[in-house]
């Protein structure tokens, strides 16, 4: 049941076709993990909080550094050296006090991943490294939680949604790790991709539209092009392949 304040706060989205008060109530009950509160995690968490997602768990072990501030818009100059999740929780709670923010200042690893995501309705991949992305992808599949991948480099970005057991997963598409380097990026790129990730989560929870599944979105900001590439589920995928193929599912 929505309160009068909530009906007013979310009025503009409640009147969207297919959304309604029922959609808003779904968002209110939803629990979403945002893994990373950097360039991607900032816009993703901001828009999920603004939309009224009931519980948002933000996971990040880092502290705010000066070199983060060109893109990680949840963190401001006054937050330097502060825990990123504390900085994020403060801003998100001020943006929307009706949303429960769970800051988790931990490094995601094989031992804690399941406990960090169990019971949640969606996972936003807002990491800055691929080993953790693969961990999240596998945990999402094992726990049957939709997973929304995003990644950036310079003015280029990617996004893809994974519905475990039904659609291609991150490991179906990628096998290796990108070369290790300090990646170039400007804030507008993760702003685009993080917003797309939040869009996917909201659509999934509310049950509207067509998800970005079995398709990889390639965003080229330099030439302002969006390209959709078809991806297939790999029967021999290490993460989501069928048992006959040596997989876990």
């Amino acid at each position: 049941m929505l309160t009068n304040d909530e009906l007013e706060r979310y009025d503009r989205q409640i009147i969207m076709k297919g959304f309604g008060e029922a959609g808003q109530e779904k968002l209110k009950r939803a629990k979403v993990v945002v893994a990373g509160s950097g360039g991607l995690g900032s816009p993703a968490a901001i828009y999920l909080a603004a939309a009224g997602v009931g519980t948002i768990r933000v996971i990040d072990h880092d502290e705010v550094e000066l070199g983060n501030l060109n893109r990680q818009i949840l963190h401001w100059d006054r937050d330097l050296s502060r825990s990123k999740v504390d900085s994020a929780a403060e801003k998100l709670s001020q943006l929307n006090p009706g949303v429960r923010i769970e800051p988790v200042a931990e490094t995601i690893n094989e031992d804690n991943i399941s406990s960090l995501v169990t019971g949640f309705d969606a996972i936003v991949d807002a990491m800055d490294n691929f080993p953790t992305r693969y961990l999240l992808n596998r945990a999402a599949i094992e726990n049957n939680i939709p997973f929304v991948h995003g990644a950036v480099y310079g003015l280029e970005g990617r996004a893809m949604t994974v519905i475990p057991g039904k659609t291609a997963c991150l490991r179906c598409v990628y096998r290796g790790l990108p070369p290790e380097e300090k990646f170039p990026v400007i804030g507008v790129t993760p702003a685009v991709i993080g917003s797309i990730q939040a869009t996917e989560v909201i659509k999934h929870i509310v049950g509207i539209g067509k998800l970005l599944v079995n398709r990889l979105l390639v965003y080229d900001g330099l030439n302002m092009k969006f390209t959709l590439l078809d991806v297939k589920r790999n029967p021999d995928c290490e993460h989501c392949g069928r048992p006959a193929g040596g997989g876990r599912q």
């Binding site: 800055d128 990644a151 950036v152 480099y153 290796g176 990646f183 590439l229 078809d230």
Partner: protein
Amino acid sequence: MSVKINIPSYLQSFTNDSEVIEVDGSTIHECLNHLIKKFPEIGDKVFAKDGELHNYVTIYVDGEFAYQEQLVKPVEDGTELHLLYVLGGG
């Protein structure tokens, strides 16, 4: 066969900033080899020393994902390839 290869912005510095390169070849592998013949510096960005694609490079043929073993498959005139790199940034 004339084939277009879309180059990710990450690699465009190796193709004189060109976004699309037109190559000839009857298989995906031949097309990639022609790309490397035109722009030799891109070679070790695409293939590992063992001659296999780097495991962080993926190829799409007319918008569809292609596995490593499909590199030997024939391509038709007008085929469009996308050469993608795994992006790690967030």
